[in-house]
């Protein structure tokens, strides 16, 4: 998955488990950037009576580096508070929820947005209401409208939303984690001599009917860049680095007499995410939770995992004869400078015509967005690989096919960006798990918060 349950410890703490981060120039408000951080992986829509909510004890943050040092220059903090209207019922709601102030809605969540910058903390808004979860036609009969009313305009021309959304990330989890099976090519898999597959099969979107909880904020570009808006694609100051983190207080103690958790002490980071699949695929199991606690500026210690990705060595072994050139490259032990550029420094000018998202030599996993590149009118899900400079790895849009992009990059398709003598295998540019944005049943919204209306518990799974 992108970063769902990617590390042993954080997999036990879903409300603090970041799943995806998105950063893109808003297609309908191109003078703004939309930043989205998703949490709570694999939410079953019928999760009542205690439907999913953010963690009241978790400090959620979206960080922006605008001066290329992999340190947060601007941080948006989100803190949540759950309120029970009537603790004497087991019900989430006691009637239809038609508005955010419905007396029928029992378990509600409110939040505060705080901006940190230059050592200064500024509460942007508080008491903002999350929408309820999408329950069904009796409880949330006009859900799309109800949820849209939870898009809040706050001072500074900023929009915020925090609540349940349909999972927009698509991936064939069942196959990928069955020893890197890619269904469209599974007949080519070595299969360990078992000959399970004789032909290709279409991909299966394992997240197709699942929800997540999204924190989305849309901010004028001028508020994110060092010195205001630059607007020049070639200007390094047009590039921002983005990541999310979740932190918990150091002490988390169960008070049995009060039947509640007691928290105390400084906040300590327990989850981090920027580029999809970074921690999930590149970092080994024994280091994943450590990686989650560290800032991007410490990623130099993991650079070798990027330069020599384990999966690049597995592909030729699992698909014999399909990736001969990749096999030679792996066996040469030559560092993958292409992956280092994509994931750790950004792509410098002169590599891809009309594009750069370079943030300097500091090796750091950040989602790098060149804010001077306008939204595409003819978007490609393959982003920069598909000739669409407004897509991943220039930030990340909600519909970008990051699984195929990263699989192809690891398979060698991006090596010629830094080594003209290398010829990618023919298969490298075709690698996919067989899914596209059309594999997401909810689809996406054309306006903020862009991720689709969550699946309702009543209708998911369908009979």
């Amino acid at each position: 998955m992108s970063s769902h349950r990617e590390a042993p410890e954080i997999a036990k703490d879903p409300v603090a488990d970041s799943t995806d981060v998105y950063a893109f120039v808003s297609p309908d408000r191109p003078d703004t950037v939309t930043l989205i951080a998703n949490y709570i992986p694999l939410e079953g829509p019928a999760g009542g009576p205690n439907f999913y909510s953010f963690g009241d004890e978790v400090l959620y943050e979206i960080h922006v580096d605008n001066d290329a040092d992999a340190q947060a220059d601007i941080t948006y903090q989100f803190r949540f508070q759950t309120m029970l209207t009537n603790p004497d019922t087991f019900l989430y709601n006691t009637g239809p929820i038609l508005s955010l102030n419905s007396p029928n809605w029992n378990s509600r969540q409110f939040y505060t947005v705080t901006r940190l910058s230059g050592g200064r903390s500024q509460v942007l808004a508080s008491g903002l209401s999350c929408p309820p979860c999408n329950i069904g036609p009796l409880s949330t009969p006009d859900y799309a409208r109800l949820a849209q009313s939870a898009v809040h305009d706050i001072p500074g021309g900023i929009k915020v939303f925090a609540g349940q959304r349909a999972e927009g990330f698509y991936v064939d989890l069942g196959a990928v984690f069955d020893l890197a099976d890619l269904r469209p090519f599974e007949q080519l898999h070595a299969q360990y001599g078992m000959n399970v597959f004789s032909g290709s099969a279409p991909g299966v979107n394992a997240t197709a009917q699942l929800n997540v909880h999204s924190i989305a904020i849309q901010v004028p570009i001028s508020q994110l860049l060092w010195g205001g808006r630059h607007g020049d694609v070639a200007d390094q100051a047009s590039v921002i680095g983005v990541w999310t983190s979740a932190s918990r207080q150091r002490v988390n103690l169960w008070d049995a007499e009060r039947s509640q958790v007691v928290t105390s002490g400084p906040f300590h980071q327990v989850s981090r995410l920027a580029n999809p699949l970074f921690n999930e695929v590149l970092i080994p199991l024994g280091l994943k939770d450590l990686w989650n606690t560290l800032p991007p500026s410490d990623d130099k210690r993991f650079a070798d995992r990027v330069a020599h990705p384990e999966l690049a060595g597995l592909l030729p072994a699992l698909y014999p004869g399909v990736f001969p050139n990749l096999d030679k490259l792996v066996k040469s032990s030559k560092p993958r400078a292409d992956l280092e550029a994509i994931l750790l420094t950004g792509i410098p000018s002169g590599i891809v015509t009309g594009f750069q998202n370079f943030t300097g030599p500091v090796l750091a996993d950040m989602l790098r967005l060149n804010t001077a590149i306008p939204p595409s009118t003819n978007a490609s899900q393959l982003g920069v690989l598909g000739g669409d400079l407004a897509g991943f790895p220039n930030g990340r849009r909600v519909f970008d096919d990051v699984v195929s992009i990263e699989l192809r990059a690891i398979a060698g398709v991006t090596v010629p960006l830094v080594d003209k003598t290398f010829t990618p295998d023919a298969a490298a540019s075709k690698v996919t798990d067989g899914l596209t944005a059309a594999s997401v049943p909810s689809g996406y919204l054309s306006t903020f918060p862009y991720l689709g209306v969550p699946y309702s518990g009543f209708s998911t799974p369908s009979s």
């Binding site: 400090l59 932190s247 103690l253 105390s264 002490g265 400084p266 906040f267 300590h268 980071q269």
Partner: protein, 119 residues
């Protein structure tokens, strides 16, 4: 600010990478000692005393003669419950948590008193 730790800088300054790798995980406080001789103790303000003993030391070390506060706890950090994590019974070193603050103190006499209470 450091993204990995949020606290009053007087209490918890950003750690270096090597220091961070040695820091307690968030669950180590719950589960017990990461090093030999750590003892977990917790008290809700006005509501109780020691509730958990996770491990005792078998090592020896020179105890501190009197309480030593290694960093100041800011006044505004004292809201809510106060939790003490006894890191090492030999040195008498404890982490005291309150609000969003943390302070490390060394008090062998208090440690001895607490251990007696647990018997």
């Amino acid at each position: 600010m450091s993204p990995q730790s949020h606290a009053d800088p007087a209490v918890d300054t950003p750690a270096t990478a090597s220091e961070r790798s040695r820091l307690m995980s968030r669950r180590s406080v719950l589960r017990g000692a990461t090093g030999v001789g750590a003892v977990g103790l917790a008290a809700a303000t006005g509501a109780g005393t020691a509730v958990a003993l996770t491990r005792q030391t078998t090592q020896t070390a020179a105890p501190a003669a009197r309480p030593i506060a290694m960093a100041a706890m800011p006044p505004n950090a004292m809201a809510g419950p106060l939790v003490v994590y006894l890191r090492d019974t030999n040195t008498g070193e404890m982490d005291v948590f309150a609000g969003t603050g943390q302070v490390r103190v060394r008090d062998s006499a208090l440690v001895a008193q607490l251990l007696r209470a647990m018997r």
